[in-house]
């Protein structure tokens, strides 16, 4: 086993354990903290693939900004342990076969994938940050401008939703 494969398995196990913990924990703040573990593990996997810019953005934006927003709202609303009702049992009965079927479809699609997918990801710096920025500001400049408009709308929406009516 190469060192890269060993690092992959450690980070993958960390991500899966974090995702499982998100489901098993009853309190939202514990779920939020395990989600942060998943995001840090995924950032490590991006570094392993040689996508260092995406890894940095993952930690700064996801692990930093978005998760701080989540933890802030959980603390602000003083969210407690979630309550169990009859409908949650119904969700379990209907949900488990649904999730298993979905996983089965995805597994079948991966199993049928061609040789190119099995070639492997080299850990070289293939897509440099410079290349990404050139592509972002040349080929994808209109979607990029649209995202700034989207963020503006999101800011306005958040302000309108959260303001107190007088």
């Amino acid at each position: 086993m190469t060192p890269q494969l060993a690092i992959f398995f450690v980070l993958a196990a960390l991500a899966v354990i974090g995702a499982l913990n998100l489901i098993l924990q009853k309190h939202p703040i514990h779920s939020a903290l395990s989600l942060i573990v998943v995001m840090i593990a995924l950032a490590g996997l991006y570094l392993l693939m040689g996508a260092e810019f995406v890894a940095a953005v993952q930690i700064i934006v996801y692990g930093g900004a978005i998760m701080v927003l989540f933890v802030f709202v959980i603390m602000l609303l003083n969210a407690g342990v979630e309550e169990k009702t009859n409908i949650s049992k119904l969700a379990g009965i209907a949900g488990v076969p649904l999730a298993v079927a979905l996983l089965g479809f995805i597994a079948a699609a991966i199993a049928r994938s061609n040789d190119a997918a099995q070639a492997g990801v080299e850990s070289g710096t293939l897509a440099s940050t410079k290349e990404i920025s050139t592509m972002l500001f040349k080929d994808f400049v209109y979607p990029f401008e649209l995202t700034s408009f989207l963020i503006l709308v999101a800011i306005l929406g958040a302000i309108v939703l959260a303001q107190r009516e007088n």
Partner: protein, 100 residues
């Protein structure tokens, strides 16, 4: 050298766990977090394909996904605060009517 399939399988497992969390959880904040989990799983598949095919498109898409997730989190958490203020509950089963 890690095969691309390994990354795809990990991505599928995390996405499946996100779907399970989305169905099982009753707290609206945790349901929101499971959506973020699914978006992260998709990002992993994007980057894996991008690096395997030696093209940067996938990583640019990941940036767009992160931007949309941030906007979604801002608006969604605003809605959650409003829900707590109006219904005094974070349980999704107590919010099943459109009108007050």
């Amino acid at each position: 050298m890690v095969p691309t399939n390994y990354y795809l399988i990990l991505s599928a497992i995390i996405f499946g766990l996100g779907v399970v969390a989305f169905i099982f959880k009753r707290n609206v904040i945790t349901i929101f977090m499971s959506i973020e989990l699914m978006l992260n799983a998709v990002n992993l598949a994007f980057v894996a394909f991008s690096q395997a095919k030696h093209q940067s498109d996938g990583q640019v898409f990941v940036l767009f996904v992160i931007v949309v997730a941030a906007a979604e989190a801002a608006v969604g958490l605003g809605i959650i605060i409003l829900m707590q203020r109006v219904r005094h509950s974070l349980n999704v089963e107590r919010v099943d009517l459109l009108k007050l």
